[in-house]
Structures are given as structure tokens and as C-alpha cells.
Subunit: 513 residues, 2 copies
């Protein structure tokens, strides 16, 4: 076996089933090795941002790493933005980056660059394979690293000669370091705070937002009266039907701080301390109100579920809380705007949908509207690097072929990685894409107003408005082989979704706002 074959065999033994790829010449031995191993499914992206974003969506839905196959420094670089999001979602991903043969590097051929310097900022684990004999161990280590500590990005740089050179047998899967258990004392301290009678809130993140975590949080809230929040940009939240529906912390700091007003104790369960997304002159970075005490129950990569379970036992009885009766939303009708678009989707979305919400300024409207929707899972933009939505939707669809996937997507960010539409068509994925077309970087208009700009000048307008020319999303989607239609009224949106949901996808609906 050559190194590439050993790499693939080692990955397969460790449970890897998918390889999202955009290979080049330095990865061809790996492509040939995939030819010999039908157990690993190759999925082509037309751009590496699609590849890494898909791996992120896949990881969030399976808690398992896919491989990515990337071409030297520039190919890796194209995938960095979505790896940045993946890192902040604690997604397990194993990047395999081909590099020049070891002896070729000193010649500084055109594609030579410092891959490690590019990889470090987005990877929890980085290694460069030295010889083909090391490759099996390196791959096993990379996969174990990706799955350890609650999930992280692992990047392995594999020179071409380590792929084509003879190698030993595949390596067995390595032991995985599980999320750290929270010491009993720490949980008891939080229980004491919750029993103090002072107003408290539980802010959930990471595993705390799975159905299991939410039910435990619901028990704690029912027993103690504490409020429930999700962090600002949760990687994944189970939602709908009778699941406890925490409030989502607002984007702007004054709103977030207002939401937390009156809370004497803020307990972090898998969430990081709330901080502002950006800084503003003379404003604090922390959103925790003055006078509110922060308590950490569990860090995101701790055993959040274990900590919540013990806490629930300590503070309450075993009776499940009375499910909060959140009504399934009704079709709003009327004018099509961000609010009615969100309500229409929430009313119509099929059960067990995965909703990838990269609607930026329109994201909260959907989150609010969908509390009582049919059971579903929402993935959101953890790292703020736009262009995550469409790729992650495709990755989620590969991960969960039995669940309908919905991309609820702002237009400006969709344009970063619209090539994902092509892979959706190629793989016949059941994804319904709603493009919320407001033809502007709305967030920049809002932030500019907040910064006191009264009347934007020519440059501001030129750099925030996307209406000259307006993107024709139906044409663009058709160009990528995706069926599409446009909706300018709530009735047209209803009719488009009525057509799209029952039919195997992909479908795109341009929501003209």
C-alpha cells in the first residue's frame, strides 16, 4: 500500500465516511486511493469555501469528522473562513492538505507557501507528515484530535511523496479524549446560587442546546424559576414543538444587556461569557450587566450534559416541566417583508427540518417566529465569517439524507459561496434555499447609522448597496443547475414552498424584499 491508500484505510477504520474535496495535482494519489475505497464518499466542491463549510455542516449534524481534501496553501486558504466558523462551533474536521514533495519545497515552485502559518489560526491541531511511513499514525492522530475535547479542527499537511511512497499497514483508531467532566463541587456551587431566590438565568451553548440539554435546562428552570437564554450565535439548537425555547441573546450590545437586565446570576452552561460582536467607542466589551455575577457551570467543551443532569437532580425533582404551549405559527399573509417571510417559513416548514440560518440581520426574525414550529434543528453562523450558510446546508444534507434541509440565507453572504448550489444539484440533495434578497449589506447600513453617520456619502452607498445591477437569483441558480423561482408576495412564497418541500431538491426561492 502507498501512503495515500493507508491514509484512506486508516480514516475508514476510524469511522470516516465522507471526503469533501477540491483536489489538485498534489492530491492525486489520494484521489486514486478513494477510487479503491467505496466506503468513503467523495463530494466535490467547486471552491474550497464550499468544501470546508460542508464539512462544518456535516460535523455539526453527526458529531463526526469528514475529511476535507485541499490543494496546498492557496486551496487551504480558500477554506479558512469557513474553518474559522467551524473552529468556533467546535466542529470535528480533518483537513488533508496536499503539499509539494518534500524534496521539491526548496525550489520554491509557484504554489509553494507556508501552509502551517495559514493553518494555525483555525486549527486546534496541526501536523506535517515527514515520510510515507509516518502517515498512518499521523492520520489516526488527526482524527482522534478532531474528535477529542468536544471537537476541533485538525489539519494534516501531506507532501505528495508521502502519498505515493510505500507505507506500512493502516493505523488503528486512537483513543479519544472526551469532554472534561465538571467537578461536582462546581455544580453544587451553581445549585446553591440557583436556590438563593435571587433572579438567575441559564445561558446555554454547545451540547446544552441539543434536545437532551434543553430538556434538562427546562427541568432546572421549572424547579428554580431561572430564565433560559441561548448564546448569541449557537452552532446548533434543537427547536420546536414542546422543547423549551430559550430566548436568543440579541446581536447589539444594548439589546443584549437589556435582555439580561435584572438577572443577578448569569450561569454559563456550554456558553462563553457574552461579549459584544464588535467594539464601539466607550462601550464595554462584556454584555453582562454591571451587578450581574457570572458563574460558569460548564465551558463549551466540557461535559455540558453531565453537568446539567447533575444540576437538575440537585435543584429539582424528576418531574418533567409542563411543556410551554408555544403555538405553531400561522401563515401571516400580507406584504412580504423579513418578518412575514420568517413567519411563512416557520408555519410551513416540514417536521425534522434542519434550518441553516445565515440570514444575518434577518436571522432573529426567523428564530422568534419558529419557537413553535414543527421540531427542527437550527445551525447558525458561529464565527461571523459570512458564506457559511449554503455550504453548511449541503453538508447537513449529506449528513442527514432523511431530513429536509432549509437554507435561510441573506443574499450578500450567499454570494460568497454560491458555488454550493452546484454541489446540491450534483448530489441531488433535498435542500430548499430561501434567498432573502434585500440587495444591500444591511448590517453595514445599521452599523453606520449607529456610528452616527446621518447621510451616507457616495462611497458608503457604493460599498453597501448591491442593487446596481441586482442579482437575478433565478438565473444564477439555473446556471448552477438548480431549479428556482422568485417570490415577491407572501402568497407567491407560500406557493413556492408548497411546490418545493414535497419534491426532492434542491430548489431555490428568491424572496424579493
Amino acid at each position: 500500500m502507498n501512503g495515500a491508500e493507508v491514509l484512506v484505510a486508516t480514516a475508514l477504520q476510524a469511522g470516516v465516511e465522507v471526503c469533501f474535496a477540491n483536489p489538485g495535482t498534489t492530491e492525486l494519489p489520494l484521489v486514486a486511493a478513494l477510487d479503491g475505497e467505496p466506503g468513503v464518499r467523495p463530494v466535490l466542491g467547486l471552491f474550497e469555501g464550499v468544501v470546508t463549510g460542508a464539512a462544518d455542516g456535516y460535523a455539526r449534524m453527526t458529531a463526526k469528522p469528514a475529511l476535507t481534501l485541499l490543494h496546498l496553501g492557496p486551496g487551504f486558504a480558500n477554506g479558512i473562513a469557513n474553518l474559522h466558523n467551524a473552529r468556533r462551533a467546535y466542529s470535528p474536521i480533518v483537513n488533508i492538505v496536499g503539499d509539494h514533495a518534500t524534496w521539491h519545497r526548496p525550489y520554491d515552485a509557484p504554489l509553494t507557501s507556508d501552509i502551517e502559518s495559514l493553518a494555525r489560526p483555525v486549527s486546534g491541531w496541526v501536523r506535517q507528515t515527514a515520510t510515507s511511513s509516518d502517515l498512518a499514525a499521523d492520520v489516526a492522530d488527526a482524527i482522534a484530535a478532531a474528535r477529542s475535547h468536544g471537537g476541533q479542527v485538525a489539519t494534516l499537511v501531506v507532501p505528495a511523496d508521502c502519498q505515493w511512497g510505500e507505507s506500512g499497514p493502516p493505523a488503528r483508531p486512537r483513543a479519544i479524549t472526551p469532554p472534561a467532566a465538571v467537578p461536582d463541587d462546581a455544580v453544587r456551587a451553581v445549585a446553591k446560587v440557583l436556590s438563593s431566590g435571587e433572579p438567575a438565568a441559564l445561558m446555554l451553548g454547545a451540547a446544552g442546546l441539543t434536545a437532551a440539554g434543553l430538556r434538562l435546562a427546562g427541568r432546572i428552570a421549572s424547579a428554580t424559576g431561572c430564565r433560559l437564554f441561548t448564546e448569541k450565535s449557537p452552532a446548533q439548537v434543537d427547536r420546536g414543538a414542546d422543547l423549551p425555547a430559550p430566548e436568543r441573546l440579541a446581536y447589539f450590545p444594548e439589546d443584549a444587556t437589556r435582555m439580561l437586565g435584572g438577572v443577578a446570576h448569569l450561569i454559563l452552561a456550554g456558553a462563553r461569557p457574552p461579549v459584544t460582536f464588535f467594539a464601539y467607542p466607550e462601550a464595554p466589551s462584556s454584555e453582562t450587566p454591571a451587578g450581574t455575577a457570572e458563574h460558569r457551570l460548564a465551558a463549551p467543551r466540557d461535559d455540558v450534559i453531565g453537568a446539567l443532569a447533575y444540576l437538575a437532580d440537585l435543584v429539582g425533582n424528576d418531574r418533567p416541566p409542563v411543556p410551554k404551549a408555544v403555538a405553531r405559527p400561522e401563515l401571516p399573509g400580507g406584504e412580504l417583508d423579513p418578518a412575514t417571510a420568517a413567519m411563512t417559513l416557520a408555519a410551513m416548514q416540514p417536521a425534522e427540518a434542519i434550518v441553516v440560518n445565515e440570514a444575518t440581520t434577518m436571522a432573529r426574525a426567523y428564530f422568534s417566529a419558529s419557537a413553535g414550529a414543527a421540531p427542527h434543528t437550527v445551525l447558525s453562523l458561529t464565527g461571523g465569517a459570512i458564506g457559511q450558510g449554503l455550504p453548511s446546508a449541503l453538508g447537513a444534507a449529506i449528513a442527514c439524507p432523511d431530513r429536509p434541509v432549509i437554507a435561510y440565507q441573506a443574499d450578500g453572504s450567499a454570494l460568497y459561496t454560491s458555488q454550493a448550489l452546484w454541489t446540491m444539484a450534483r448530489e441531488r440533495l433535498d435542500v430548499t434555499v430561501l434567498i432573502l434578497s434585500n440587495r444591500r449589506y444591511r448590517i453595514l447600513e445599521v452599523e453606520s447609522e449607529r456610528a452616527g453617520v446621518q447621510r451616507p456619502g457616495a462611497a458608503s452607498t457604493r460599498l453597501t448597496q448591491l442593487d446596481d445591477p441586482a442579482i437575478n437569483w433565478v438565473s444564477l441558480a439555473n446556471g448552477y443547475g438548480v431549479d428556482a423561482r422568485s417570490a415577491s408576495t407572501t402568497e407567491e412564497l407560500e406557493s413556492a414552498l408548497t411546490a418545493a418541500f414535497p419534491e426532492p431538491g434542491p430548489h431555490l426561492v428568491e424572496v424579493v424584499l
Copy 2:
């Protein structure tokens, strides 16, 4: 004045006229500052790869830096691939990367990352501004760095508080370090080699491939009988009419070495020593044949023109060489294939065109066909990071509004940064885009055959073929607001170009191969 205003004023004083941008919240003070300074033209790209590729095309055609405006680590990362190409083209570019306010960084907000680690691999100069008072000096230094030593990428990270904070006056332009002069002795040594009577070749790169460099090289060749080559992936070559037309070194090593066969002395004039693009098992990295002596007349960032001028004086007389009569190509007619497509373009292209050639496996066909075309300039893919063509074409069109621009573009690489089409439409740029649609990563098929793969398996096919579904380029272009048509025969291609060239652009022609 605040820091942002000082930055813009300093840049304007140093001759900066264009800012290619995709700003975010951390760059809004800079956007507001551009509102107040109409002398710097803001050009929006829908993705940062478009922004940096445009800055590269602009720099190659003007030898002047544009600013790029990029949003923190992820925004910068999206631009890395084309900065990699720019670095290898010695293009002067000044990246302005907004970052969180200095005090906000320790809070590790979602978009926080190590920007310097991302920037170093593609930047000859990197700095992070510490306070708003330092900003004027930092910008002046960055611009001077970009323009020094024959051109390089300079990256300045500017925290938001350094933009909005009060600052001093703008800084005056700094002195630029010009390309290093080649010592007379070194030139005389080369002259001696050329006078030895042994077969010699001059391999040209960098400024050696401008019209001035080529005419000098022509004089040297005429006086000494040496052959002329261009390096493999030249940043820029002036071509056509009576200009000496060096052979372009072939892509594959055996072809390149064969081309250099019989050359006793290979003289590098602005070119780097020829090395293989990729490594192959048991093949040398250098393409200089055994027994051929390499001599360096001038490194790419030296004063290549000065060295060639002195060399021409040493070896010859002042009579210009008899122009080589390369006939203007004729329309080939017949079946549409890569060769006839190239000949059709070469026959029809208007005078003074700038041709951005990212046709990958089809690039050489055009280069061969166009030696006798109307005078033009060819830009090519210096760093091998695909997705450079469309953005650089738009940058070249901004740089040279009086010259027609042609993007001769493979489909697979066009799909990396197709968003550039939108900016072409928005800025009403006279660009004619030919998409050579072969619906495959042809280079990977060829390299796979070379590696001995006889019959590609399912994974290989799945990862190299783009025909399921086929991209509809007319739809895609229309989606971005660009007029487009498809050509399946040479007659249709002629007719499409006949329509496109006289009309202000942009236009796209899908060349179906």
C-alpha cells in the same frame, strides 16, 4: 481628522487612486473617510478573492498600488489565494485589514483571529497599527514598501479604534527603494558568455517582458544569435506586431527540458531558474538540462531593463534587429476546439487589448496563436492559485479604461471567483470574457494519466468532471447582470466576438468545447 481620514489622505498624497473593497463593521470609519475623499475610487467586490485579484491586475498594468479594504482575519483569508499570485507577480498592493478595537481583542469575540499569521505567507511587509497617532506613518510606510524592490504585497492591520480615534496630520510619501542595479561586472560576465559562440538562451521575466525589455532582448538575440524564452508563468508580457516573441517555457518538465535542449548557457534576465510546477517521482525539480550552465543576469526584482540595456550595448551595435515577420493569424474556421478558439481570438482581438489568460491547459494554445496578433499585453497565472483571471481582468480594466480587456478563461478556475462578473457589470467595464467550457478539471485528467492511472475510478471521475450538471454560463452571467451568449462553432464564436468587441462591455461568451 480621525485615523481613517488620515489614512485616506496619506494614501492619496502617495498617489493611490483606487480602493478595491469588501468592508465590514470594523472598516466603517474608512468607508466614511472615503465618502469625504472623491480622489480615491471605491470598487466593491462581492468576495475578497475578487478584491485582491483586482488589485493584482491593477498593479500589473499601472505598477502602482491600489488599496484593498478587507474585514478581519476571515475577510483577509478569502483574499489570500490571489495575494499568493500577486506576491509571485511582484505586484505592489497595500492591504488594509480592519481589526477589532485594541481593547476588544482579549474578549475573543467571534471574528477574532491571528491576522498576522495569515498575512505573513503572502506579504513582503506586515505591520499592525498600535494607536491612531501611528496610522499616518504606518500607511506611508506600507505604500513605500509596496512600491519598493520592484513591487510587493504590504499588509497593514488597523484596529477599529485606530480608525475612529483622533490622529495627527497625514504623512508625506516615503522614499521608495528602487530595484537593485546589476553590477557592471555581472553584465560583462554574461556578455562574455554570449560572445563565446556556444549556444545560449536568454530567459526573460518581470520587466524583461515589457515592450522595452523585449526590444533590448531582440537586439541581444540579433547580435549574438541567442534564443529567447519567457519564464513559464510570466506576470505580464507585451506581445504582437513587430515585438520579439520569445517562446514560452512549457508547463510539463519533459517538454520544458526538451525546449532547452542544446542550450549550453541559460541566462536569466528577470526570470527565476526554471523548476517544475509540481514534483514527480524520481524526476528532478530543475528543468535546466544537465550540462546547461545557468547564469543570472538579473533577478526579478533587480533593474532588469538597466541590465539588458547595458548587455545590448556590450554585445551588439545599436541597429535594431530586423522585426521578425510573424503574420497576423487568420480565422481558422472549422470545428471549435481549444486550438481554433485560440486562433479565432488571436485573429479578431482589437489592438492594445489586455488579455488575461487563465485558460490553464488551454493557455499555451492562445500564446502560440497570438504571436502575430495586434499589439497586446498578456497577464498570466503567476502563482498557480486558480481564480485569478476574472478578478485581474476587472482590475486591469479599472487601470486602463482606454484599453479593451479580454479574459481568456478556463471554466473550472472561473468558478472560483465568478462574482467578478458582477463588478464588471457594476463598473461598466469593457471586458470580454471567453469561458472555455470543457466541463472538467482537464489538468487533473492529464496529470492522472501521467501518473500512470489507466482507467480512472468512480472517485477520480467524480472529482474531476464538471458535467453533472453542466454549468450554464449564459444563465450564470445573466444572474450577475452580464450580457452573454453561447458559441458551439467557430462561426458562432466569430459572430459573438464581432458583436462583443465594438460594444462597451462587459460581455461573456461561453465557448462550448
